[in-house]
């Protein structure tokens, strides 16, 4: 899942980047409002974490611009402004959630996960595809009764496929939602990781779950 963080306070920027990446997200981060708006418009982020007081452009203006251009990314406002009026204004400008600084990091993660489930219309934090079970909270994966050991990148890939289970997912989509803006990886890295993932999921001789749809990408679950 790919996040954009627009936050100008450098120490917070750094800890958010570190914490969110370690939680398995692909994170783009910027401290400049204009740049943030450009990022948000040029990529389909799953969740945008937005500070309100930014140099260059006000956070609320970014939000307005995004919504008026029809962007559907979920936006979580993360700000030191804590009055009721601030919260109402933020939500009414099209934000999906509002968190006041200082915050507990676990809560931020939980809220981001909740927004992600909403993005993909999943109420249940556990996704089941046949005998494959994914716990979105603990990020653990089971095939049958056996827990699978996945690297963060493999998990991120599987999670994205699981969110869109039952439909073909293009390489571009995967690229956009699992990798960061300026990651050095080349485009066939997706195929390589799909290979790793397949190996781990189908290791015990179980039937394949990830199918290649020619010309359209990959599909997790039953073929249509």
């Amino acid at each position: 899942m790919r996040l954009l963080v627009i936050e100008d306070y450098r120490p917070l920027q750094q800890s958010l980047k570190k914490g969110l990446r370690e939680a398995g997200f692909a994170v783009d981060i910027t401290g400049d409002g204009q740049e943030g708006l450009w990022y948000a418009l040029s990529n389909d982020y799953d969740v945008i974490i937005l500070d309100l007081m930014l140099p260059g452009i006000d956070g609320l203006k970014i939000l307005k611009e995004l919504r008026s251009k029809g962007r559907q990314s979920h936006v979580l406002i993360l700000t030191a402004k804590d009055t009721l009026q601030d919260r109402i204004t933020g939500l009414d400008h099209g934000a999906d959630d509002y968190l006041v600084k200082p915050f507990e990091f676990r809560e931020l993660l939980a809220r981001v996960r909740a927004l992600l489930r909403r993005s993909y219309r999943k109420k249940n934090p556990q996704i089941k595809i046949k005998d494959l079970r994914i716990d979105l909270t603990t990020q653990k994966v089971w095939r049958g009764r056996m827990e699978l050991e996945l690297t963060p990148r493999e998990y991120a890939l599987l999670e994205y496929l699981a969110m869109r289970a039952g439909e073909p997912v293009s390489r571009t989509d995967i690229w956009e939602h699992v990798y960061e803006f300026n990651s050095a990886a080349s485009s066939n890295v997706v195929d390589v990781y799909i290979g790793y993932l397949r190996k781990k999921i189908e290791r015990t001789g179980k039937p394949p779950l990830i199918h290649t749809i020619r010309g359209r990408g990959y599909l997790l679950g039953d073929q249509p």
Binding site: Y9, P11, L12, S15, G19, V100, P102, R106
Partner: protein, 471 residues
């Protein structure tokens, strides 16, 4: 001295009434008394004249027959008495009613009546005394006989005046009673009017009592207020406005402080939390700790600034005057900033003459210069310039600090001394920037008796002028 407005008003009104009524009653009484006495005396004199003219002298006999017949002397109610003396004081005749008593023989001259009140307790009388030459019986020309018969007699006529005195005492009683009743009534009326008149005061007091300390937007006297209370109402409302403004500034300041503290707190907290999520190697911990330390240092600086501001507000800052070599002080304030200036390729030029000295408070002036120079480094453009100059006047010194790369407008420049205001568009450095530095500068300069101004010149040169009084 009573402090009750109502009592004072009532007492004043009653006092005035008593004085006026007393003067009025006395005047009325004296005038009426005089008029009645004059009337009485006039009647008495005419009686005396009639009596005098009716007396005839025949040789040495006095004919009093007619007198005995006069009705005045037979009225039992207003008993009238007479007594006539020879020039030598021998009594010629007197009313038989007088018995053993005599009427007074007053000193007077011919034809001019003299009066006297005879105030015996039981029977007060008024008397008039006349000197006259009685008529002689023969109607011949008097020229010859005149010397012989030209005897001047003295006549006193007195009449019971109890009627007059009764009338006067009735008048007295009437005046006193009427005055008393008037005063009693006016006490009631005055109390009523004063109470009514002071009612707006009560309603204002009620409105003031209804003002709550947590809601200073209320204003007093929304209803019609009398002209006398209007100034009080206006002053009170002015006071309320000022208080409201002060409270609002205070609230905004507190909110700003809270806001400025939240960012670094969020930074520390998430840095610690993220690093605690798993076991890491030592360099990572070290880096996290030094990140936290950096944030804490900035928080500490901000708290120090806040404390200094609070002390300045409470006027708890003591000032110590000493001789200061300005150029040296500016250099020492610049030293801690020079690294950052080098990083940003900013050049610094201290154009203050090293000979210039004056008396001021070293500690505070150093805080001022540090903050202003720090601000200049913060906002100067990369490769820009910072300059300090000084201008000496007879009783003041003007230190000017200028930096290039300013993107503020002149209006914005005027705001730089407000707490927590920052010229966002030009902020390059994301991080804790306690927008207190210049507010502090302004406050300290004011405490030192000076003033600050800021201006933006064309080509983005920001100039801050610090004006300090010099002894």
């Amino acid at each position: 001295m009573t402090t009750s407005l109502r009592t004072r008003l009532i007492l004043g009104v009653i006092g005035g009434m008593v004085l006026l009524l007393t003067v009025f009653s006395l005047t009325v009484y004296i005038l009426i008394q005089r008029a009645l006495a004059n009337q009485f005396d006039a009647a008495l004199v005419s009686t005396a004249r009639i009596l005098a003219s009716s007396i005839e002298i025949d040789a040495n006999n006095i004919d009093l027959e007619d007198v005995q017949q006069m009705p005045e002397f037979n009225d039992p109610k207003n008993q009238t008495y007479y007594q006539i003396w020879e020039p030598d004081g021998a009594i010629v005749v007197k009313s038989p009613l007088l018995g053993a008593d005599d009427l007074p023989r007053l000193e007077t001259s011919l034809g001019i009546p003299a009066f006297k009140a005879l105030n015996t307790a039981s029977d007060p009388k008024r008397a008039v005394c006349l000197k006259f030459i009685p008529r002689t019986e023969n109607k011949e020309p008097q020229t010859n006989q005149q010397p012989a018969n030209n005897k001047i007699l003295t006549l006193t006529v007195a009449r019971g005046a109890s009627g007059l005195y009764n009338q006067l005492s009735l008048l007295r009683w009437l005046l006193v009673t009427a005055s008393a009743v008037t005063i009693a009534l006016s006490v009631l009326i005055a109390a009523f009017i004063v109470r009514r008149g002071l009612r707006p005061l009560h309603s204002i007091a009620f409105e003031i009592a209804a003002v709550r300390e947590d809601d200073l937007t209320t204003r007093i006297g929304t209803t019609l207020v009398p002209a006398e209370i209007l100034p009080i109402k206006n002053r009170l409302n002015d006071l309320l406005s000022r208080l409201e403004g002060a409270f609002q500034r205070e609230r905004r300041f507190t909110a700003d402080v809270a806001h400025e503290l939240r960012n670094p707190l969020a930074g520390i907290r998430s840095t610690i939390e993220v690093n605690l999520t798993r076991t890491r190697d030592i360099p990572e911990y070290k880096s996290a700790l030094s990140d936290c330390l950096e944030i804490v240092e900035k928080i500490q600086k901000m708290v120090n600034n806040l404390l200094l501001l609070a002390r300045l507000d409470a006027q708890q800052v003591s000032l110590q005057s000493e001789q200061i070599r300005l150029a040296e002080l500016v250099d020492s304030c610049w030293r801690p900033l020079s690294d950052k200036a080098v990083d940003n390729k900013i050049t610094f030029e201290n154009r203050i003459d090293s000979e210039i000295t004056f008396e001021s408070d070293r500690q505070n002036l150093s805080t001022i210069l540090s903050n202003v120079l720090e601000n200049a480094v913060e906002y100067a453009d990369e490769g820009g310039q910072i300059q300090t100059t000084v201008h000496l006047e007879e009783d003041s010194v003007e230190i000017t600090i200028s930096n290039t790369g300013c993107q503020l407008t002149t209006e914005q420049a005027a705001q730089v001394f407000d707490s927590f205001w920052r010229g966002d568009p030009s902020r390059k450095d994301a991080g804790v920037h306690c927008g207190l530095g210049l507010a502090l500068v302004d406050r300290i300069i004011k405490a030192l008796g000076g003033s600050t101004t800021a201006e933006v010149e064309t080509a983005g040169i920001f100039k801050m002028h610090l004006i300090l009084p010099v002894k």
